[in-house]
């Protein structure tokens, strides 16, 4: 597969109004740089996953997009205006990380909380529509402190979309959810994004990013290290593992083979990461390296993720 960095931004349409734009924005906490000269543009209607390990700068990025934090340098635009104005106009919804707290007010029913959330926005979606979208019809008469982890997140999602926002930010929305809750949450979100809304969610669940998002933006140390559809990201880095057994493996020789990105040797067992497994196998034969038990497997997004965040930038890097 050809690996042209420009091919990674398939969803970008020239001239389309960006839903959000980071232009060399940085933010630091004391001497710790959380977001470092970040450049990112998301078009209206895209569903984008912000993928990265803990401490990569995902939450800071979302806080900057909501105007909760200000960039120390660079600029950020949301829906053609400043983050604070976009929020004040009621065009943005968000589900933030809450740590151990539920993020919901105590001593009140779910229905009343959602009613309040609607009244805080100038053009809210009808109550029933939001209830339906978030699938919380059965929870409306429940007190907010009598909800399971998954139910809390559904209610918080309802609050995030109560104002019928054009743009939604979700910071690790499925944290504390079990598998079933997670599945129904993403189903809900996919339905919502199909209505033409822009969604940006942070996650460190690689499969979620891959399956839900049109586009995966990998960030680490506050910078974009990769940007593209999940499938393409996987193809970008050691997309195949080539395993075989070899009498006397020579690391230098193996490393020099066509397509090889990394070499692991455990006794006689050799695992090569390769961008082009066919070429690597042909090179093995050509160089008369005696191998047995050859096995070629695809690398998961997991491997791609590790490769990306550990070092080399791929795609449109900042």
């Amino acid at each position: 597969m050809p690996l042209k960095p420009t091919a990674l931004n398939l969803s970008r349409q020239p001239g389309a109004v960006a839903a959000l734009r980071f232009d060399g924005a940085s933010h630091h906490y004391g001497s710790y740089v959380a977001v470092d000269d970040l450049c990112l543009e998301v078009a209206g209607g895209e569903t984008v996953a912000l993928l990265g390990p803990n401490g990569a700068g995902k939450s800071t990025t979302i806080s900057l997009l909501l105007g909760l934090l200000r960039p120390h340098s660079g600029s950020i635009e949301v829906l053609g205006t400043t983050p604070r104005k976009a929020v004040a106009q009621g065009r943005v919804g968000a589900m933030l990380q809450t740590g151990p707290g539920s993020g919901l007010p105590a001593g009140v029913k779910v229905g009343a909380t959602l009613q309040l959330a609607r009244r805080l926005y100038p053009r809210p979606a009808p109550f029933d529509v939001t209830v339906e979208r978030a699938g919380i019809g059965e929870l409306l008469d429940r007190q907010t402190h009598r909800l399971s982890g998954g139910q809390v997140q559904s209610v918080r999602f309802a609050i995030a979309i109560a104002g019928d926002p054009e743009l939604v930010f979700l910071d690790e929305p499925t944290a504390a959810m079990d598998v079933a809750a997670r599945r129904s949450f993403w189903k809900m979100l996919r339905q919502f994004s199909r209505e033409g809304r822009t969604v940006l969610f942070a996650t460190h669940h690689l499969h979620e990013a891959d399956q839900i998002a049109d586009r995966v933006v990998v960030i680490n140390h506050g910078r974009v290290v990769a940007d593209g559809p999940g499938a393409m990201l996987k193809a970008c880095v050691a997309s195949r593992r080539v395993r075989f057994v070899c009498e006397r493996p020579d690391r230098a020789q193996l490393d020099g083979l066509e397509g090889v990105t990394d070499v692991e040797i455990h006794g006689h067992g050799v695992t090569l990461g390769s961008l082009d497994a066919d070429a690597t196998v042909r090179a093995l034969v050509r160089q008369r390296i005696a191998f047995t038990d050859l096995e070629v497997t695809g690398a998961g997004l997991e491997d791609a993720f590790v490769a990306l965040t550990e070092g080399g930038a791929v795609g449109r890097s900042a």
Partner: protein, 250 residues
């Protein structure tokens, strides 16, 4: 935006008035103490030229306001800020200042019925007899000058975390209550404590009520001290709010 803020205010007041814990503490304390202390002095006793029954009603109005203000803010507010709800509100269209202003306003709104209830208890059980105008006047003066209690509760909620807020609230309730002369007339206290009381908002709030009843006019120092408390506490809350806002927390 006004409609949003009204909705938010109603939501806050509704939550307070539906909270059994809040009602039992704020209504239970002043009413119980009124009934308990009523017999401490013989019915003919005059304190500051006001009958003991009326005097105690005034100080229990102050105490009720103090307890309501501290409880409405305090641990509730602290826990709510920790839960992430306060932050969620920050990403809705209502302005940043509206959260804290609504909290103070909601505290003031729930202080009023507490005072009225103590008035009713004073009238029914204490036999306090005032003209309609004086009932209104007394309550209005005491309510308006109870603003420092509402601010103090919100300040505690901003200053300390939910676990420490509870003991801090209890301590403030009894320090301001006892040393402010709300349980026992100040004249019965040693002179050092009498001097100390004059630094406390609880003393001045109750004194305004007593001054209203004895009809000899208000001493400006009461308003000055209470106004000073309101200003300092507002500034402290604002400062704390700004710091947290800068960190993306508020």
């Amino acid at each position: 935006m006004t409609a949003s803020l009204v909705a938010f205010g109603r939501f806050e007041v509704g939550r307070l008035l539906r909270s059994w814990k809040f009602l039992i503490i704020t209504v239970g304390f002043p009413v119980t103490f009124y009934m308990l202390f009523l017999g401490n002095q013989s019915s003919g006793t005059l304190v500051d030229s006001v009958s003991w029954r009326a005097y105690l009603m005034v100080t229990m109005c102050s105490f009720g306001a103090l307890v309501a203000g501290l409880t409405a803010g305090g641990a509730r507010l602290s826990a709510e800020r920790a839960s992430g709800w306060a932050r969620q509100l920050r990403v809705t269209p209502i302005p940043a200042w509206s959260y804290v202003v609504t909290k103070v306003a909601a505290s003031m709104l729930v202080i009023l019925p507490v005072m009225v209830l103590v008035d009713v208890v004073g009238a029914v059980f204490g036999g306090v007899n005032l003209s309609i105008g004086n009932w209104f006047g007394l309550t209005a003066v005491m309510w308006a000058s109870a603003l420092p209690f509402a601010l103090l509760g919100v300040f505690v909620g901003y200053l300390v975390n939910a676990e420490t807020a509870f003991p801090v609230v209890i301590a403030l309730m009894f320090v301001l209550g006892y040393f402010g002369g709300l349980f026992d007339p100040l004249a019965n206290m040693p002179s050092a404590l009498q001097t100390a009381a004059k630094a406390l908002p609880s003393y001045h709030n109750a004194s305004l009520g007593v001054a209203f009843l004895d009809g000899q006019g208000f001493d400006a120092q009461h308003w000055i001290v209470l106004g000073g408390y309101a200003l300092v506490l507002s500034a402290a809350i604002l400062l704390k709010h700004r710091v947290e806002e800068g960190r993306g927390l508020a």
